[in-house]
Amino acid sequence: MAVDIKAKMKVDMKKTVTIEPITRIEGHAKITIDLDDAGQVADARFHVTEFRGFEKFCIGRSFWEMPGITARVCGICPVSHLLASSKAGDAILGVRTPAPAVTLRRLMNYAQMVQSHALSFFLLSGPDLLLGMDADPAERNMAGLVKMHPEVARAGIRLRAFGQALIRALGERSVHPSWSVPGGVRGSLSTADKEHFLAQLPEMYRTLDMALDLMKDALDRYAGELNAYGAFPSLFVGLVASDGGLEYYDGHLRIVDGNGRIVEDNLTPDAFLNQIREAEETWSYLKFPYYTPFGTEGGMYRVGPLARLNVCDFAGTPRADRELRQFRHFGGPGKTVNSSFYYHYARLVEILHSLERIEEILADEILLDHHIRSRAGVNQNVGIGVSEAPRGTLFHHYQVDDNGMLEKVNLIIATGQNNLAMNKTIKQLATRFISGNKLDEGLLNRVEHGIRVFDPCLSCSTHEAGRMPLHLQLRAADGMLMDEIKRG
């Protein structure tokens, strides 16, 4: 589709491109692109347009309920909220969570990584990567992918099903399980289930081999564009293990800059949160967290798969470490990989790592130990839980009274932490691909893909409801709306 912007100006006297809804992401959002008098991109914004307010309506509830309540924030990554909330509850109890329970929680989190990343790569971004950014929009979707690459779609569906089934085996259901609780978990995994999932792993590894080949083909195909998809230095934040390895559940927080230099290390969650401020804008319900010591511009940071691979010293499993070495070639010796397009590649490395960790855990006899829950009352009035969600670092911060009733709730979500970087990414893409008088659907899709690389979950990040359409606007220097495209 081509839109004659100059012709539209005569009618609308405005210069704004609007993309709405953004498709193949979770939640509702729009993109606006403002043009200057010369028809060049002056600014681009990613607006999140829905709101839910979990932080407010949870006040007055018991912290015991929070894992079950906050898992309802999202149907895609409920496990992430379940675990972060349980860990905040652990801190309020002030008890040591039994090692078998921690192992089981880790197992569910790895399964979550597999299912969520598989959905993102194969079915949400797959149409762009495999059919092309300029493909007919009527075909550039899940149905088109099924038609053109059925073997890829089949493999992706089975990989996601593997992760979902493992979550279900642990938590009775894959969407909104309420299995993890303050102090531990409610149940273990049967021996029959362990054997069932171990037997499926060879197929899952073969699927990853195929996906990595496809990813590397896509990197070759888009080599000329990679420097437009959010390619800029920023801070990167993520958990790392005590030995510096890739970590999703525990460990400490590390901040690395865009040259690979460690800015801060060995941060506890509360120490990190003390360094973060959440800025707000009137045009979005999504906040803009930044690292306070460096200010709003220099304090922009990214979380998620790309960040995790940039902050860790190594993965800690053989297949993932082999792939991580190749991944790091794209940043150069000792440097971070800075283009957000590599989020796709990082997701695949993380699936591989998660499969290897799942294999290790399923073979671990600790799962035979049935001491999976510690019991206590309120021993601390503040609890912070942190875990790595598929989209990045997730914090649940609760303050309770002596009866465990919540007085304050703060949820800091991965997608929110990427908000500044997402806005900068779409401006970089718009500047590269949009100029003056014509809007081409393929070019707009590239701008949209600039959001999709982050695999944002806006239901989580604003704790809001429903699917997220996208709306792209093109605005003139005087703020007048010039053109817009909506979807959904």
Binding site: T23, E26, N141, M142, A153, I157, A161, V175, R467
Partner: protein, 102 residues
């Protein structure tokens, strides 16, 4: 065997009617004749349930606004599937994917 998939979000009250119907049917129907799933939303991996060798017919149960009658049954056309999809799917797209993949 029939495959019955009831879906919806019970936290949204009426939206969860399909889910609740599936729960009731699951307790009442002979498991040798019908497999009943109560799910939050339709997701791609349900394709693997649809292609099970013993499934001869699929019934989707969902809440819907704007109907003249309380209960409406209609035959779905997989060719009417649209490709637009976020993290949840229409039954038509699920049928379309099943037909195309298997």
């Amino acid at each position: 065997m029939w495959l019955i998939i009831g879906y919806g979000n019970r936290l949204r009250q009426d939206d969860g009617a399909g889910y609740r119907v599936a729960e009731i049917l699951s307790a009442q129907l002979d498991s040798q004749r019908a497999r009943v799933l109560a799910v939050h939303q339709l997701t791609p991996e349900l394709v693997l349930e649809l292609v099970a060798a013993d499934v001869t017919r699929v019934l989707f149960v969902d809440a819907c606004r704007g109907q003249d009658k309380p209960l409406v049954m209609e035959k779905l056309n997989q060719t009417a599937a649209t490709g637009s999809c976020g993290h949840q799917m229409t039954p038509e797209l699920l049928l379309h994917m099943t037909q195309s993949l298997y």
